[in-house]
Subunit: 471 residues, 2 copies
């Protein structure tokens, strides 16, 4: 990409993510050109690009600022120097879209299971019993890799699912997010090529772009990532890492069939690269069990498999595990130590009895409950969605990926929905580089029964009608 | 530094930290030169440098390997391709020195308070009461910034200590380690200049070097960092960030007086840079209260203040908070979201009642207990240490920084001590760039009463006698 466009793109992301406070005065051309360092001409071009898109307002002799009425200052402090403090957050869509402060009554944007379906009370009861036996465990630092007992329990579960990793090949992380982040900080640097599905989990895009990776997104069909395209691109852009959510993909719900899984592994072997297999949802199948994981096929330590136990058990506990082999695992453990000296023991121990004894039963029940909710969601969609609206019917997971007519202004729809207490995830945040998308993702929840579509339909309908299309 | 020396240095760190398994075959000159990419001549020079230091063994036509007898392979898998997988861990001393698996009966290397002095049982009792009231809190993702109630309690504590940050200016992190890491990943990139005290906390060196920072270490005197040297260096190497532990410094125990604190802030203001004020120990004063923090003097958002609550309350809970202002805070919160989507709610809530109501009382008692232990440690040192051994008498904190005669081979001493179940922290790991140091750090614990010095003295004595110096 041309350099001034890169600068413009970074500033656009800041403005859109809200990281630049409204009305912020942007650094002067001369100042920014010294800081980056690039020529003043390049910076001027970047600002001109932003101005032509109405993202900044420039005044001759006064510089550029983010357009808004008032400049608010925190207390009486003068923090203006902070604007010249260069940072390395190239993208902050996760922060923008998933901050807890954005709480609405009908929340369909966070891929989380409703609290009522989770075994929180049981886990708390366990914690009580457990902690009374060995309280001093909480007073010491845990192992960097995570509590051994918990890793043994994780290993047993993974083994049942065909992943032959022993406890010593597992690393406990704070949710899958930390797993992805550890891989990125360990193995991805500036200019390294990372392939991902298009679209993909927005939090993973944040992570890889923050490392300065060259992120290349591969289109999908109804069988997942299009490997012919990936193979062709690898020729000219050899991969350092391929990130994939092969099972009930987030956000599309699509599953990669076995033949593509083994092909992907062949590709990794020929390019000596890593595959990150992110698996948040494989237990949440609503028809048949999904194909065995890519990690199952892996004979030579190419796959880093990330299994979240947060989503289906206790999001508040932030627990996942990473299965990896050889020095790849050692290096991830070293990175974990640098990041946080290991996960809290309390949360690890809190989950131990539940995951050892009751997880399978819980998942059986959860699948039934979620299957009902999916049926309701699909029923509501079929009944209420305008004919121009289409969607993919997922066989598992939490997302329904919905295509709106291209005429719908999704940003405007988001604002309207927000006013009514409804949230959804705009598809654009699931692409790197701020690509347009006329998709949205909605999470399967019980409130589909009416609330969403009563109001959601209203807005889509209104919007589509306003554009002159019959709904 | 000359480039081949940099390559050699990185490989040395891997070999010394144990991240390269014994007997590992290193990549061929041709292969490494393609990967890095540098000229084969540069790689050859790096290997020659390593060979001349006996760190690798090279055989004509067979390449170089880490010297050892056997090459072990994990199961039957062939993982040799992993050696060519470039990573971005430039240093892993934390991993090497603090892994939980390195447990010994007389552990003096981890700066942690003995479990018996910590209020673990109380916290667990609180958790029970609390969780029964609002169990669903554990089932949802928390706010990226951390639990609001906990931030309010933290803010109240900081206010009592003169730090006027409201709850909205705090970010809850997984221990101070994550606080440091968030600052680094947000604001430090390749080539950015980071100043630190020499010596300093080894985990902070790991973090900043992993970002590719140019780490410059500033010598200390008995009043902390020598600001005249820092000021001179800033002239030619303008700082992006200054990392300091001004109060009961880790590992030396030295405290920076107020006049230097305000000077440091002036420097940050003139260079538009950040100060990271890491404060693990200020409550652990054994004589008088330490001077007020640098953050107290900060009127323009230059200081990121990191307060660990893990060390004095519950290391297993991994809880600290970061106080920052303006967009610096926002950017840190965005980075936190990318790293782990926020800290676990369970551990945050677990600590809430204790920190609200009983922290001050606990700290009073803890100071008394630690003061006794310090007195005992100093007594033991005075009584048993050979005359060539000297130390700094700390007025707070957990470390005693001990200078051994330069003739002592610290690596050998470490091996001998390890065989007897005694651990200490070799001073060299507290310096960037593998500098030699004839210091060691010992943590103040009750077992100073005899165990350590009975055995420790024995070894020092033996060692010193073996070198022909009377003990």
């Amino acid at each position: 990409m041309i350099f001034y466009l890169q600068i413009a793109k970074t500033l656009v992301d800041r403005i859109q993510s809200g990281l630049l406070p409204q009305g912020t005065k942007l650094p002067s051309v001369r100042h920014l050109s010294t800081l980056l360092p690039v020529s003043p001409v390049t910076v001027s071009k970047a600002y001109a690009e932003l101005e032509s898109n109405n993202l900044v307002t420039c005044t001759q002799g006064k510089g550029c600022r983010e357009p808004s009425e008032a400049v608010t200052r925190e207390g009486a402090l003068d923090l203006s120097w902070q604007m010249s403090l260069i940072d390395y957050l190239t993208r902050a869509q996760l922060w923008r879209n998933f901050n807890h402060s954005r709480q609405v009554p009908y929340s369909f944007h966070i891929a989380a299971i409703q609290p009522g379906l989770l075994p929180t009370r049981e886990i708390i009861a366990d914690t009580r019993r457990l902690t009374s036996e060995n309280p001093d465990a909480m007073a010491v630092y845990g192992a960097f890799k995570g509590d051994l007992e918990l890793r043994e329990v994780f290993a047993a579960h993974l083994n049942e699912r065909g992943i032959r990793s022993g406890a010593e090949q597992l690393l406990v992380t704070r949710g899958a997010q930390q797993g992805i982040d550890l891989v990125a900080r360990t193995f991805v640097g500036a200019g390294d090529v990372v392939y991902m599905e298009a679209p993909t989990y927005t939090g993973a895009i944040d992570v890889f772009t923050s490392r300065g990776a060259k992120v290349i997104m591969i289109p999908m069909d109804e069988q997942g990532m299009k490997l012919d395209i990936l193979t062709r691109l690898c020729d000219t852009h050899p991969p350092k890492l391929i990130y994939t959510i092969p099972t009930f993909h987030n956000p599309t719900g699509v599953t990669l069939p076995t033949v593509r899984r083994t092909k992907l592994l062949d590709l990794a072997q020929s390019y000596h690269c890593l595959i990150v297999e992110d698996d948040p949802f494989s237990e949440l199948y609503y028809k048949t069990k999904p194909p065995i994981s890519i990690k199952d096929h892996d004979q030579s330590g190419h796959v880093v498999y990330i299994k979240s136990f947060s989503k289906t058990v206790a999001p508040g506990c932030r627990i996942a595990c990473v299965a990896a082999t050889g020095s790849v695992l050692d290096r991830l453990v070293a990175a974990k130590s640098t990041t946080d000296l290991g996960s809290p023991l309390l949360t690890q121990r809190a989950l131990l009895p539940f995951i050892s004894h009751r997880l399978d039963h819980h998942l059986d029940r959860l699948r039934d409950q979620m299957r009902d909710r999916l049926a309701l969601a699909l029923h509501t969609l079929r009944r209420n969605a305008p004919p121009e609206v289409s969607w993919y019917t997922p066989e598992g997971g939490l997302n329904i990926w919905i295509k709106l007519p291209s005429i719908v202004d999704i940003a405007e729809l988001e604002r309207l929905a927000d006013r009514e207490g409804i949230s959804f995830l705009p598809g654009a945040v699931c692409y790197a580089g701020g690509m347009d998308s006329n998709h949205i993702s909605l999470i399967i929840r019980s409130s589909w029964s009416g609330n969403l579509f009563y109001k959601g339909y209203l807005y889509w309908g209104l919007k589509i009608q306003a554009q002159g299309i019959p709904s």
